[in-house]
């Protein structure tokens, strides 16, 4: 569905069902250089099981217009604006918080920061493939600035587990590495560096995590080289109400590599 936010056209996939603000809402927030389509095998299920789904294209990504937002804080405020615009969650009735945020990588930081800044609306957050802080080395930031194809190749090779690199996709006939690469190639020039720089600059994530007022789920892949499971464990240690799920053998591209396991963990947490 199309939504206007800050005077700009934004798009959110609603999981194959019309958005119904009276239902509890699940917002899916993609990672750097991606779009809503990374959530196909998680979002559709929620939309067909009593939830209002918004799998967003962040500004400047996919079908959403404008420039990419330069910081995690900006992204968090944008999500809050989106929720306000569609009427998801009732800020006047704090006890009736019904919005769950599910984020991957950069999206996981966005979910965390949004719950920290706007606690009135957010019932829970799920952070997938996450690390706080999320430093991005110059080895990647450099090419992201001046050689995007090279940066995309690096991300693709680091984002998949040894098993994912060979294939065996849950979706029949799809080649995971090829699809991930093409999706990144679809984004506008400059988006990749913007996103990685935003992750790199996000400084107060641990404070936000320590102050988090809602329950959190952390899903990590045991073979994730982009956001190492050790970093996820450190994050979990500071959150008051936290549940951790480790997916054996999964890399950073968890939703593609183990779509059912990610969905099952989200169901157990949200439903």
């Amino acid at each position: 569905m199309q939504i206007e936010i800050n005077g700009q056209a934004a798009y959110a996939y609603t999981g194959g069902k019309p958005f119904d603000a009276s239902l509890p809402c699940v917002v899916f927030i993609h990672g750097a250089q991606n779009d809503h389509s990374v959530w196909g095998l998680q979002s559709r299920w929620f939309a067909h099981h009593g939830f209002a789904v918004l799998a967003v294209d962040l500004p400047g990504h996919g079908r959403s217009a404008g420039s990419p937002l330069p910081s995690i804080e900006d992204l968090a405020d944008w999500i809050e604006l989106l929720l306000e615009r569609v009427g998801a969650g009732d800020t006047a009735n704090f006890a009736a918080k019904t919005v769950s945020l599910v984020g991957h990588s950069m999206g996981s930081l966005t979910a965390l920061e949004c719950a920290f800044r706007h606690p009135a609306r957010i019932a829970r957050i799920a952070m997938i493939g996450t690390a706080v802080p999320m430093p991005v080395s110059d080895v990647l930031l450099g090419p992201a600035k001046d050689n995007e194809p090279k940066a995309i190749a690096m991300i693709n090779s680091w984002s998949h587990s040894p098993r994912g690199t060979v294939g065996g996709n849950t979706v029949p006939g799809m080649w995971m590495l090829g699809a991930a690469r093409r999706l990144m190639e679809r984004q506008k020039p400059g988006v990749l560096h913007n996103d990685l720089a935003a992750c790199n600059a996000y400084g107060h994530g641990m404070e936000a995590a320590a102050a988090l007022a809602c329950p959190a789920l952390i899903i990590s892949g045991s073979r994730d080289m982009m956001t190492h499971p050790k970093a996820a464990a450190k994050l979990a240690a500071v959150i008051k109400d936290v549940r951790s799920v480790s997916l054996d053998g999964a890399g950073h591209a968890l939703m593609a590599e183990q779509p059912d396991a990610v969905l099952d963990a989200l169901r157990a947490f949200i439903v």
Binding site: G40, L41, R44, H48, V166, P172, W175, L263
Partner: protein, 427 residues
């Protein structure tokens, strides 16, 4: 890390099976798959979860082949179908309907030509054929109803090398995709997506299998074409009543085409591949790099021999200086210009017949891309009804012979060719 071509040819798409650890790809010779429970069944039908339901739509053995070819081509995914013809039909039927128009190279395999020129017009889809070397002809043939540009990477019968970068650029200027038939080149000789093509199909019957035991086709999606931006493909960008009201390009940014092709085309037209065939083709794909190298090495020797033989009037191979696409072949096909080519005997039809009858190693049949060397004389077989003048207009001489060079000992092949040439000279 990611793997290189030869490793992908052996491994892509398959992890050892989790139940028994089988190293080879198991043949899932089953029509259907048991649901875990009603919830999972419903989720599979509604695409909330992915998995196999019924082997007309997908099958685990076929999926390995599909992923492997997609990996070798550098695409996002593939669909295995009953034949090369079925792959071409599935692509066209997914992209367009009655009233649509295709611009195609006129240098096509006869079966593709039949489908476009005679059969599809009955369903309201028409084609304009153009000289593949004439970019202006491609351009002027494009109309408001055009939905696809199509050609073979190496055309039939003159081995016209399709200038994929330029034809693709032209297609994209008009918001259209370029599909290529890559049967003669296989991803080992060229990866058309790297040059701008959007869709690829293969008659896997040929080099991908290599053994000549199975008919099959593969349709591969490059995942780069922006169907929404083009605005000419409502089958991919508008809700489809026939499948949950799904808008395929919203559902999948990079694989909308494959999604519709599988969920509609495979479901409704039903030209699926048998898992047995998928297994047999996988055996072939594993050795594709080794075989293609040998195909090319043998072909180069055969070409070099024929070029200097006194009974031969001419050889058409893009690696030769006098081939019109010599420079383009050097750019797009540095590893070789395939192993199917034609040469012309100085004698006419009679010489052609004598040549064929004298051969012992080459098999006289209507196929190409087998591990075994093959030969055919168009004037006395596929084109026998045509007059000499009509043949020449089609780029075929009465003394033209088409060879598909196999993997035998090159010396034996050349000795066999000499036997044929000696017989032809006496005709």
């Amino acid at each position: 890390m990611t793997y290189n071509f030869d490793t992908l040819a052996l491994h892509a798409g398959q992890v050892p099976d989790e139940t028994f650890g089988a190293r080879a790809t198991p043949i899932y010779l089953t029509t259907s798959f048991v649901f875990k429970d009603s919830d999972q069944a419903a989720a599979l039908f509604n695409m909330e979860r992915a998995g196999h339901v019924y082997s007309r739509i997908s099958n685990p053995t076929n999926a390995v082949l599909e992923e492997r070819i997609a990996a070798l081509e550098g695409g996002v995914g593939a669909i295995a179908v009953a034949s090369g013809q079925a792959a071409m039909h599935l692509a066209i039927a997914t992209l367009m309907g009655a009233g649509s128009h295709i611009v195609a190279s006129r240098s096509l395999y006869g079966g593709s030509h039949n489908l476009l020129d005679y059969t599809l017009p009955r369903f309201g889809i028409t084609t304009t054929f153009v000289d593949p070397r004439d970019l202006d002809a491609w351009r002027t043939a494009i109309r408001a109803e055009t939905r696809l540009l199509f050609g073979e990477t190496l055309g039939n019968p003159g081995l016209d090398v399709l200038d994929i970068p330029r034809v693709a650029a032209l297609a994209h200027e008009h918001g259209l995709p370029l599909m290529v038939d890559s049967t003669f080149t296989t991803p080992w000789l060229m990866r058309p997506f790297d040059h701008g093509a959007d869709l690829i199909f293969h008659s896997a019957t040929k080099f991908l299998g290599g053994h000549g035991v199975a008919i099959g086709g593969l349709l591969v999606d490059g995942g780069s074409f922006d169907w929404d931006k083009s605005g000419k493909f409502p089958t991919l960008t508008e809700p489809y009543e026939g499948f949950h009201g799904m808008d395929f390009s919203e559902e999948s940014t990079v694989a909308a085409f494959l999604l519709r092709a599988r969920r509609e085309g495979l479901r409704d037209f039903g030209a699926c591949m048998s898992p047995m065939t998928a297994f047999q083709l996988l055996q072939g794909v594993e050795t594709l790099p080794l075989r293609m190298e040998r195909h090319i090495a043998n072909t180069r020797q055969a070409v070099a021999h024929l070029v200097k033989h006194e009974a031969v009037a001419g050889v058409g191979y893009p690696e030769l200086d006098n081939h019109p696409d010599h420079a383009l072949a050097q750019k797009l096909l540095p590893r070789g210009a395939g192993s199917v080519f034609s040469f012309t005997l100085k004698g006419g039809r009679a010489a052609g017949r004598k040549f064929i009858e004298a051969l012992r190693v080459f098999s006289h049949l209507a196929n190409v891309g087998d591990a075994k060397s093959l030969v055919i004389h168009p004037a006395s077989t596929t084109h026998f009804r045509m007059s000499d003048a009509a043949l020449v207009a089609a780029g075929i001489h009465p003394g033209t012979i088409r060879l598909s060079i196999g993997l035998e000992d090159a010396g034996d092949l050349i000795e066999d060719l000499n036997r044929g040439l000696a017989a032809a000279a006496k005709a």
